[in-house]
């Protein structure tokens, strides 16, 4: 009977241990860590800017490591640095969120979602980061709208300018964003794998990527058709929108105005605290 008791106790302790995994510190090399600062203005964004890159999102996969946690891996190709540090032709960005080994799924409320096959203008951090190497929601998908190149923010609106507060997107909703308020209408794909379709290669060597109709962090399907969808963009909608070169030039101007040169450090992976431990603070005021 003693043997059974020991076995049962061991099983219980084992289960408890599984529920309480994780530690405060990142186990890898954490020398020279640079923590991000509050993104409370456009100047704060520019000060923490490693590069603005233009790249094609060729594939999306997922990964999990104990400390780094669930990650959605964005595989970019044809990478061009338009401002700041030069990057290689291909780049993988590991964004927080995705499936866990025990079949659960983790989502971060602030990270933008991405459309497989899209061309993106991305602002990258020159600091370490925990959730995404892309600064806040500065991930703009390049689209043609009413015959004009526009930059679609994760909210489905187009970029119209910059202000001391940030990048402005003062158009009506031009594309369906990453989910609608209320979320009850979002349907989930019965098969997650169907959304992880890698790009194919055309006979002439160019890539052929599936076009998803919505910004998405897989696996999602477009909202049900009973819901409101935006009217197709017209010329009036895009009168004030910025093109890629316009936005990059404006950011460059801001950098010069505040005496900052984008570039420097780039962290390919998170080196801060493990995903499941959130250091909290006592307020000082």
């Amino acid at each position: 009977m003693r043997k059974w008791r020991v076995l049962a106790m061991a099983a219980s302790v084992g289960v408890l241990a599984c529920r309480g995994e994780g530690g405060v510190q990142f186990p890898g090399d954490t020398t020279g860590i640079i923590r991000p600062q509050a993104l409370d203005s456009l100047a704060a964004v520019v000060r923490q800017l490693n590069a603005i890159i233009l790249a094609d999102l060729r594939d999306i996969s997922t990964d999990y490591e104990n400390c780094e946690g669930p990650r959605t891996v964005l595989h970019f190709g044809n990478v061009q640095s338009l401002l700041g540090m030069s990057h290689t032709d291909t780049l993988q960005l590991r964004v927080f969120g995705g499936p866990l080994p025990q079949n659960r799924y983790v989502v971060d409320s602030k990270s933008p979602r991405y459309a497989l096959g899209g061309k993106y203008l991305l602002f990258l951090f020159n600091t370490d980061w925990r959730f995404s190497p892309v600064i806040s929601d500065h991930a703009y998908r390049v689209e043609m709208a009413a015959g004009k190149e526009v930059l679609i923010a994760p909210n489905g609106h187009a970029v119209t300018g910059v202000s001391p507060l940030g990048v402005e997107t003062q158009t009506r909703l031009l594309f369906i964003p990453n989910g609608l308020p209320g979320v009850g209408e979002i349907r989930v794909s019965p098969s997650q794998k169907t959304q992880f379709v890698p790009c194919q290669v055309n006979p002439d060597g160019t890539s052929r990527c599936p076009q998803l109709p919505v910004d998405t962090q897989p696996p999602r399907e477009p909202p049900a058709p009973v819901l409101w969808t935006p009217e197709p963009p017209n010329r009036e909608d895009v009168v004030r929108t910025l093109k890629i070169t316009d936005l990059v030039a404006k950011i460059d101007s801001v950098a010069q105005a505040i005496g900052v040169t984008p570039g420097g450090y780039f962290a390919k992976r998170s080196r801060l605290e493990c995903w499941n431990v959130q250091p909290t603070r006592e307020p000082t005021q």
Partner: protein, 363 residues
């Protein structure tokens, strides 16, 4: 087997079952379910390192969250335990709320980590709410728009993140607590009749309704305002949309000048309303929907369907503003106008008013 051994085995079995991770028995499969099921009730556990009590500005922010939770969802906010360590664990099945350095959440004002039983939109297993500790957690400045660094932005961020926890997503073109918190889309401090600007608004309520399927009691009408210089461009504050720089404060105007004034109103419930919005200038910073207060700048009437927010540009011709150099605050007062078939008795009770960030300097 002896009776005592059966009893002992039963105890071990119970102990084992009790330690199985929560939710393992309640999987909901992805597929055709068009809602995000939530635990009932939601139990939020404030991290005792961040929140000492419910009396401080930070604690009061939690109380607001509890109030909104109670109104819209069964949400219990536990008393903080000051013995808590200065970290919280994501993935343990407990819904935590904590204050963090903004560097911990990649520089953002707030962030919610959500865990689902299976894929996104299946049953929510856990949500941890993280808000930057250096935000201002006092009550917002009267009825002005909240923007980064302004008074009350911490309370706003906390409620915004709670919205994420219960399943709402960011929006950008509606007046809502869930308005995106970065850049020009800073969450706005609209106002309801209660005197507190920290409320879910019409668009939030509609989202909650879609998730929950029913609504508890809530205020049904609010007014808010924004300022624009060119027709159609929405501005949260007194920035010049052409240059991105702040406009003069107060703004010198001449009699007969035309200014554009973006006004908005929202209806929180199922009943459509006709709303009269009166923009007026007054030396007082207090806003009122009583008639004949201040100098009327313009009046607009709009018909609102249920759960609607609407905004429109009021084209205002500056009337004589009184003594030269006098500084006047611009307010937007809303009055519900009963529809012919409206027999409810609440009409005047919810009239509302909003103070804008705009101040005019008389010529």
């Amino acid at each position: 087997m002896k009776r005592v051994n059966i009893k002992r085995a039963g105890s071990y079995l119970l102990l084992f079952v009790a330690t199985i991770p929560l939710g393992a028995y309640s999987l909901e499969y992805c597929g055709s379910t068009p809602v995000r099921p939530l635990p009932h009730p939601i139990v939020l556990r404030p991290n005792g390192c961040s929140f000492k009590d419910f009396g401080s500005p930070h604690g009061r922010s939690l109380a607001i969250l509890a109030r909104e939770g109670t109104e819209n969802w069964t949400t219990n906010v536990l008393p903080p335990n000051v013995g808590d360590p200065c970290f919280l664990t994501f993935g343990n099945g407990t819904w935590d709320v904590g204050l963090v350095n903004s560097g911990t959440i990649d520089g953002s004002a707030g962030r919610t980590l959500e865990m689902y039983e299976q894929c996104p939109d299946s049953r929510k297993h856990e949500a941890d709410i993280l808000v930057a500790v250096d935000l201002d957690f006092n009550q917002a400045d009267q009825r002005r728009f909240a923007r980064t660094g302004s008074v009350g932005i911490g309370r706003h961020a906390l409620l915004h993140e709670y919205g994420h926890a219960v399943g709402l997503e960011d929006v950008d073109d509606d007046f809502a607590i869930m308005r995106r918190s970065t850049g020009i889309g800073a969450p706005m401090g609209g106002h309801t009749n209660s005197g507190s600007p920290h409320y879910f608004m019409a668009d939030d309520y509609e989202g909650l309704f879609r998730i929950r399927g029913s609504l508890a009691r809530n205020p049904n009408f609010y007014v808010t305002s924004q300022v624009v210089l060119n027709n159609g461009a929405l501005r949260n504050a007194s920035d010049n949309p052409f240059t991105g720089t702040p406009m003069p404060d107060p703004l010198p105007v001449n009699t007969g000048d035309i200014i554009f004034f973006n006004a908005g109103a929202g209806v929180h419930d199922w009943f459509g309303r006709k709303i009269e919005l009166r923009a007026y200038a007054d030396s007082s910073t207090e806003c009122t929907s009583l008639p004949d207060v201040g100098v009327t700048l313009g009046v607009a009437t709009m018909l609102m369907p249920f759960f609607a927010t609407a905004s429109g540009v009021m084209n205002v011709k500056i009337p004589p503003l009184g003594p030269s150099g006098q500084v006047l605050n611009v307010h937007l007062a809303g009055t519900l106008i009963p529809l012919p078939n409206d027999t409810s008795s609440e009409k005047r009770g919810w009239d509302d008013c909003a103070t804008t960030a705009l101040r005019l300097k008389a010529p």
